[in-house]
Assembly symmetry: C2
Homo-oligomer: 370 residues x 2
């Protein structure tokens, strides 16, 4: 499947992407279920969505990321309308005085990979096979565009009532402050376009073909069941990932504060890990996994929770007491391992007092210790 590239999204593809994006979304990026139903409905109504690759873009094309911002806890209860999702596009087109050539996801995540699908279907605009994280992260400035110094403005936002906002922020950190404050006032979630970029900027700074990657992951998880393979093993092989821990959720603390879902979960080991304990810390996304105070995987590397039986991803929102899971980890995009990358999304930024060590190294060290 290595050279495969998505060119069109139908209902089946949306189903795969919903699941694959939830794996890459590391527990965040919005609920995949609601996004999937809305995207499938949009495709039934408006037809399949054309997908283009970064290399297909003209250098001066206008590409606009579209997403939902806020606490996933709220988004599960306050379902956005198609009108709310497309309104930031109208506002940004008006401000820039030109039409959007392609819509892209800002992040890979169950919900936020599908929000652009809904808008692309409704508007008949192509969807770009790329995003600005290669995973999901909780804050607006946590995008590869920010690392490369690309202007985040104009930023446009809308709620489900009819309120609309246009902002010119001096940088991504100011965007995050102001957009988060507006999101909280809008009831905890809002639709947003930020970092309008050119085709040339996409080619240089975006993480490419992540929609295709999400599709492949979803396909593996669905098809391995039919092929009587272990879905998690098939997935780890395809992504060059690592199984971190097999366990059962015995304690989950989750609070919605400051427009985020924050908390931690504790897992008792099962199978080979019996008698051991893993702690998983999250802010919308899973950010740190530890065992006895030792890191198993650290942000910006990806940490996902999969159902032990089906391999299906579990979001920070939907994790339930007693769930039997396998925690898995994958290396992040190399852009996040730079000094600016780690300053922006490393463990210190989130208040975790651990150093960043690449997952490949942590896993090798663990092997040595045995």
């Amino acid at each position: 499947m290595t050279n495969f590239k998505l060119t069109e999204l139908n209902e089946q593809a949306v189903q795969y992407i919903a699941v694959g994006a939830a794996v890459l979304g590391t527990g965040g990026g919005g609920d995949p279920h609601i996004g999937k139903l809305m995207a499938q409905e949009a495709i039934r109504k408006y037809g399949p969505v054309r997908v283009i690759s970064p290399e297909d873009l003209e250098d001066d094309a206008l590409v606009v990321p579209l997403s939902m911002i806020g606490a996933p806890t709220v988004m599960n209860e306050k379902i956005p309308s198609t009108e709310q999702m497309t309104k930031p596009l109208d506002l940004i087109e008006k401000e820039l005085g030109r039409k959007v050539n392609a819509i892209m996801p800002i992040e890979v995540g169950g919900g936020n990979s599908l929000v652009p699908v809904i808008a692309a279907a409704e508007r008949g605009i192509p969807l770009l096979d790329a995003d600005a994280m290669g995973r999901a992260f909780p804050e607006s400035q946590m995008v590869t565009f920010y690392l490369d110094g690309i202007d985040c403005s104009p930023i446009t936002m809308a709620d489900e009532r009819g309120n609309g906002v246009l902002m010119h922020a001096i940088d991504g950190v100011w965007e995050e402050r102001m957009a988060r404050a507006i999101t909280i006032q809008m009831g905890g979630s809002a639709s947003i376009c930020d970092y309008p970029v050119t085709g040339a900027q996409v080619k240089q700074s975006a993480v490419h073909h992540t929609l295709t990657l999400a599709y492949e992951i979803g396909k593996i998880l669905y098809e391995s069941k039919d092929m009587r393979q272990n879905p998690i093993e098939a997935l780890l092989k395809h992504l060059h990932g690592y199984a971190l821990f097999h366990g059962k959720a015995v304690d989950i603390r989750r609070r919605t504060e400051g427009g985020f879902t924050r908390g931690e979960a504790v897992f008792e080991g099962t199978d080979a890990q019996k008698g051991r304990t893993m702690r998983l810390f999250f802010q919308n996304e899973f950010l740190l996994a530890t065992e006895d105070g030792q890191s198993l995987a650290v942000t910006p590397d990806l940490i996902s929770l999969l159902d032990q039986d089906t391999g299906m991803p579990i979001t920070t929102e939907n994790l339930k007491y007693g769930a039997r899971v396998t925690a898995v980890g994958f290396p992040c995009d190399p852009k996040w391992r730079t000094a600016k990358g780690l300053e922006t999304v490393g463990p210190q930024y989130f208040g975790y007092d651990v150093p960043y060590v690449p997952i490949e190294k942590l896993t090798a060290q663990k092997g040595d210790a045995r």
Copy 2:
């Protein structure tokens, strides 16, 4: 002076207005001192500001209120630049696609009566002799335009760093929520244009000639000193106001929270009021004066604190322990005494558990009781 109308503002007029607006600003509306210095500087640089009356406006003229929003505590420390003050005008002109014909104050208040003077001088745009409160109030929807159902949008905001915001809010209450949240993120104060109105709307809904009134009050306070009159008596006579209490500030509790300066102050009686105690409650503005649990004056009627010797107004920010003051009260504009008016700015809205009784009646009742 009844038929006098301001037609031009020079440095002297600004001095009068700063003081008179602080009296009508009921302790809020921003610090008069900094606004005065900036307005006088602007007039020295750009020349006198032309003042027009509501009746001079074409019905389809575009009139834009310009003000500072936030906690006065912060504005005293974070002085805005002229550039920050004029930026919301640029943003609203761009959004509406036409030039502003006149700038008006949104409220009467030491600072917020002068912010439009600074912008009018710098832009060479006429200043309108009217406002949308006839006093100062702490929240954005507390304007006569809101009572008359006029659209508050588009709303434009700026900070001193270069961040700019344009909002379309579905009503004044949603504007307040979103603009206040942005203000807090912008560091506690911001410049704002809201309720862009037509000449016809000004004629119907604004409170007219309040700049002239502020000028007259300032002139009385300055001139009575030279004429060896009691300035407070002269003022009360001109405004048909009431002396509520003579006292000394013995306790002041002030906190900056949620973008407001909130608190209460206690005064021990002096002179004829010896042995008695007045409590004064405020949220940016003085909103309720009580003695032994009985109301002396209640929002939306105006309550101001004047220095016993000079008659000069004291803001909620500048009230100091030991200050000897006379609390005075004036009837508010009749628009505030309607059902919608009292729902919007009456004592219940601010959380004070007292009924609204017009100051004329409260004062007459007190007279009866003696």
